[in-house]
């Protein structure tokens, strides 16, 4: 049976851009938001038409990300989702996530309740909140528009409206922040008992206000040692609090409904990315992986509108994955998961590509042998990492150890 697909829709608008943000987003005020959702609807239809030609598949996750999707007008989002549902066959129990930033759901209690109610009607069943910190000074420093108090209030109403799957994002290693600060943030987040927590170490990127400050020497990055110490303490604390650490930066609360030790609250959508599953990307700068082809939409808003108005997909880059691309991506995305990547899934990804050698592995050993045949050059170095206790290589696959996570890029780069 074919796997199901996900859909990602990008909303590139924010109230204001944060100081660390290198994502694609524009100031919401004065931006053509309505035109944008209209264009999204057209792109959805174009994609769906293409899908129907190729034999459409059930959609089991939808993720509306940004930007800040919650700044979009409810009326337009609602229309867009209707179009989405008409165009694609979305599972009844699909995971349907909307990213929302604190303090964007409505100032008045009534507005907020109504807005959340509207999201419920649309079928959104998971909210992902960009909390980032629970310290108002740090929030301000990062250029966030909200306060810790906003977060608490938002969560209160979110729960009141019956959202039972909520993710809270936390950023640590902001310049000047100690491990204790981060852990104190985490405690405040845990007090809100989210089903899911994402913890990201701040990356200072070129071209952001933080990047510029760092270049001028006005920003002192948290030393690696401290950052890693913070990270590991966060991981321990979350584990202690009953969360499953299932991906480098992601934690899901355990519950009695878990099967095979996997939390039901794992993000199904993000898991697509780590499982070599397919997803359709829609919107400005969105990426997709459909029928073995990776594509990326244009990041230029004018170009995006122009393409849509001409009735064509706004794809800027397209790459037909080779068998090696597939196995390589399976490894480095799979290694992000704590359970690692099995030889079987990596080799299966390989076999799906158009140019795969005709192989017919049957046993675990067949998968393993073929895997290491492909990566024979990387093997000695991989084994050296294993000896240092950074990587576990066993009969069924590979996975990073906790310390291996810290240098995961070096290990992953062996496999590209």
């Amino acid at each position: 049976m074919d796997k199901k697909r996900g859909i990602y829709i990008h909303m590139p608008f924010c109230v204001q851009k944060c100081n660390y943000c290198a994502f694609l987003s524009f100031k919401a005020d004065g931006s053509p938001r309505k035109e944008y959702t209209d264009a999204l609807e057209k792109e959805i239809k174009l994609r769906a038409a293409l899908e129907n030609e190729q034999g459409s598949k059930k959609i089991d996750t939808v993720y509306i990300g940004g930007g800040t999707p919650s700044v979009m007008d409810i009326s337009t989002v609602s229309e867009m989702i209707k179009t989405l549902r008409r165009s694609f066959d979305i599972d009844e129990d699909a995971e349907f996530t909307l990213e929302a930033n604190p303090a964007t759901l409505g100032r008045k209690d009534g507005v907020m309740l109504a807005k959340l109610q509207a999201y419920k009607f649309m079928g959104i069943n998971r909210l992902s909140m960009g909390v980032q910190s629970m310290d108002n000074d740090r929030l301000h420093f990062m250029g966030r528009i909200h306060t810790a108090e906003n977060v608490a209030r938002d969560m209160h109403f979110i729960r009141q409206k019956g959202f039972e799957n909520v993710n809270l994002d936390l950023i640590f290693s902001v310049p000047g922040e100690t491990a204790e600060d981060a852990l104190s943030d985490l405690e405040k987040i845990l007090a809100l008992s989210p089903e899911h927590v994402s913890c990201y170490s701040l990356q200072i990127e070129e071209g952001t206000p933080f990047g510029d400050m760092a270049e001028r020497g006005e920003l002192v990055e948290v030393p690696d040692e401290e950052d890693r110490d913070t990270y590991h303490r966060i991981c321990s604390r979350l584990k202690e609090a009953g969360y499953e650490h299932y991906e480098i930066s992601n934690f899901a609360r355990r519950s009695e409904n878990d099967t095979d030790g996997r939390s039901v609250y794992r993000s199904r959508h993000n898991s697509l990315y780590w499982n070599m599953d397919e997803y359709i990307g829609i919107g400005l700068g969105a990426s997709g992986f459909v029928n073995g082809v990776r594509y990326k939409n244009t990041s230029d808003l004018d170009e995006y509108f122009a393409a849509i108005n001409e009735g064509r997909l706004p794809v800027a880059e397209e790459h037909v994955n080779t068998a090696f691309d597939n196995i390589s991506e399976a490894v480095f995305t799979g290694l992000r998961r704590r359970e690692g990547v099995s030889y079987e899934e990596a080799v299966s990804a390989y076999m799906k590509a158009h140019d795969a050698e005709d192989i017919d592995p049957q046993t675990d050993n067949d998968f393993r042998d073929f895997f290491w045949e492909v990566f024979s050059e990387a093997k000695p170095e991989a084994e050296a990492y294993a000896e240092k206790g950074l990587l576990i290589i066993d009969d069924t696959g590979l996975r990073l150890t906790k310390t291996g996570i810290d240098i995961s890029n070096s290990i992953m780069s062996l496999f590209v």
């Binding site: 990602y8 990008h10 994502f23 990300g65 913890c199 990201y200 170490s201 990356q203 690696d224 040692e225 950052d227 890693r228 480098i248 930066s249 697509l272 990315y273 997803y279 990307g281 969105a286 990426s287 997709g288 992986f289 990776r294 990326k296 880059e317 790459h319 691309d325 390589s328 991506e329 480095f332 995305t333 992000r336 240092k388 996570i405 810290d406 240098i407 995961s408 890029n409 070096s410 992953m412 780069s413 062996l414 590209v416």
Partner: protein, 602 residues
């Protein structure tokens, strides 16, 4: 009237960038037997590296025809010369083949160090010199100043020096008239015993070695058996002819003429520049003077980089040597870098060119080690060793003393920069011999300096301190005893032989510190601390530490943009490929060449 009266054999001499090659091109276009539109491929497109650097490394020779105002048709043999100090010997042999030289002076720059160096070489060969002022199309041209400099500094009468622009073609006709008038016709006896000077040669895969020659006496034709007077080898001539450019066969070459000879000669080394060709059946009694074996001044190790095959490097070096008698190599084994070659060069530029050709023409990935000069090590036993690889320096207790090569360095500069040049030279152990004001604003500084100090980045340092205005000319002077020690570098407590250098004892501490600091910047962080140490014998004299990194992880995959993540990982992997593994420590390849670039001014 003899046929000799209608021949002019000449070279163009100039400082780098003064427009020699452009002038040569213009002359060919004006008078050559090549169609203008074919010219690019035939003449210009010879070596990319030369063109990019604006210098001529390999000689070109061309036969031109010019109908002068007196109604006579003249054969002009333009013998081009390499334009860099590394190739002084080749320049001198090319000049020896001429009867006169056109001295090109950039009218915007005036006389430079190499202008003078080249003029002296030409005077040594008794050449008549015709000065011309080039780049007259530029607004910044100051012909009167340039003329005054030629008269004051060189001592030539420049009052009638043609004003030209090689670029636009302005003044070229006037210059050619002057050339025929000033430069004397060759002399020689076509019926005498054959004496022909080899002034260049190159390897052609069909014809074997093609010798460029000037016939001084006698004549040579196909079927003759020729003898190289210095190497003593005999060859049967398969073809003679003129360089138009390219090779156009002729019946014979006779006294006064310039052309080429082929004789199934397998390697360049058998037709050495400067050697004299005579007939085996009727040899001349004496060779032409001035023959010298090419001597390597600078050495470095060339090793295959990670993943590159030793055999490929060997093949490429052999191919380069076929065409370059001044380049030599022998196998070398380094504990750090494995099997490779120790290569000898005429100088730094020669080295750069060869290394660049390895990557460009042969697509090779190589690691080059620090350049080194040849030291004479006098042992207590009285034995004298020539050491060009620091790793081979014998146990210090067995050494009586070490001698290093000293060069005579002439630096010409606007007087504003004298102070900073003096500081630079002093820092490089230079000894000032003399300083003279050539004009009110131009100064020539004469230094004696260890060659070792010149070969790393002296030229770059000189240029950067003088905004490019200073020019340098240097030549080997003598060997001189010096207090030198071997400075070893240890990474993670392991000695890396390819990073050893020989340095003056009194500077060892500073150099050791400098190298450690530089390596600290070059070596990427590892998962553990990497101590970098500089040592003399067992004694550690400097230490730095590369801090361990603890973090190399991307927290987030950008909204399913796997391709972006993949590109990052691929970049990381590619970066690693340019690294070299030493035990646990990974060192970028550039470490081996960059590490001694410690310009004191920065």
């Amino acid at each position: 009237m003899s046929y000799l009266d209608n021949i002019r054999n000449f070279s163009i001499i100039a400082h780098i960038d003064h427009g020699k090659s452009t002038l040569a091109d213009r002359l060919i276009e004006k008078t050559g037997l090549v169609e203008a539109r074919d010219m690019k491929e035939q003449y210009l497109d010879n070596m990319d590296i030369e063109r990019e650097r604006g210098i001529t490394i390999k000689l070109q020779t061309t036969r031109l025809k010019y109908k002068a105002n007196d109604g006579q048709e003249y054969i002009l043999n333009l013998i081009d010369t390499p334009g860099h100090v590394d190739f002084n010997y080749e320049v001198s042999r090319s000049l020896a083949a001429c009867d006169g030289a056109v001295l090109v002076v950039d009218a915007t720059q005036g006389v430079e160090a190499q202008t003078l160096g080249n003029v002296y070489l030409a005077l040594d060969e008794d050449l008549e010199i015709l000065p011309v002022l080039n780049k007259m199309d530029l607004d910044s041209a100051r012909p009167d100043d340039a003329r005054a400099e030629i008269e004051d500094i060189i001592g030539l009468d420049a009052s009638e020096a043609p004003e030209i622009s090689a670029k636009t073609g302005m003044g070229i006709d006037e210059m050619l008239e002057k050339l025929v008038e000033v430069i004397p016709p060759p002399q020689g006896d076509p019926d005498g015993k054959l004496k022909a000077l080899i002034f260049d040669s190159y390897y052609d895969s069909y014809k074997g070695v093609i010798i460029y020659t000037r016939i001084f006496d006698g004549r040579v034709k196909r079927g003759d058996t020729i003898r190289m007077m210095n190497t003593g080898k005999n060859y049967e001539v398969t073809e003679v002819g003129y360089c138009i450019p390219g090779t156009i066969p002729a019946d014979e070459l006779k006294a006064g003429e310039v052309g080429y000879i082929c004789g199934s000669i397998k390697q360049i080394a058998d037709a050495r520049v400067g050697d004299t060709i005579t007939l085996a059946s009727d040899p001349a009694t004496e060779a032409l003077r001035g023959y010298k074996k090419a001597q390597s001044m600078v050495y470095c190790g060339i090793f295959p980089a990670e993943g590159e095959k030793y055999e490929n490097v060997k093949d490429a070096l052999e191919k380069l040597q076929v065409n370059d008698a001044a380049f030599n190599f022998e196998p070398e084994n380094s504990a750090a870098l494995g099997y490779g070659y120790r290569c000898g060069f005429l100088g730094l530029l020669h080295m750069d060119v060869i290394i660049e050709r390895l990557s460009r023409e042969f697509d090779l990935d190589v690691i080059t080690t620090l350049p080194s000069v040849v030291y004479k090590v006098v042992m207590k036993s009285g034995e004298i060793l020539e050491i060009q690889n620091p790793s081979n320096l014998p146990d210090p207790t067995l050494i009586a003393h070490i001698e290093e090569p000293i060069v005579k360095a002439d630096i010409m500069t606007p007087n504003d920069y004298v102070g900073s040049i003096m500081t630079l030279c002093q820092n490089r152990r230079g000894k000032m011999i003399h300083m003279e004001y050539l004009t009110k604003t131009r100064v020539q500084l004469h230094y004696e300096m260890p060659l070792n100090e010149v070969i790393y980045d002296f030229f770059d340092a000189l240029k950067s301190r003088t905004r490019g205005y200073a020019s340098l000319d240097y030549e080997f002077l003598r060997y001189q005893p010096a207090k030198l020690v071997k400075l070893d570098i240890l990474l993670n407590r392991e000695q890396i032989d390819a990073l050893s250098t020989i340095v003056p004892e009194e500077e060892a501490m500073a150099k050791g510190r400098g190298i450690c600091e530089k390596l600290k910047d070059i070596i990427p962080r590892h998962q553990f601390e990497v101590p970098i140490q500089a040592a003399i014998g067992q004694k550690i004299i400097a230490r730095e530490t590369v801090r361990a990194y603890r973090k190399d992880v991307l927290a987030k995959c950008y909204g399913g943009d796997i391709t972006r993540k993949k590109k990052l990982l691929e970049k990381q992997k590619a970066g690693k490929k340019r690294m070299r593994q030493f035990g646990q420590v990974t060192v970028p390849q550039e470490a081996f060449t960059e590490v001694l670039k410690l310009d004191d001014g920065k």
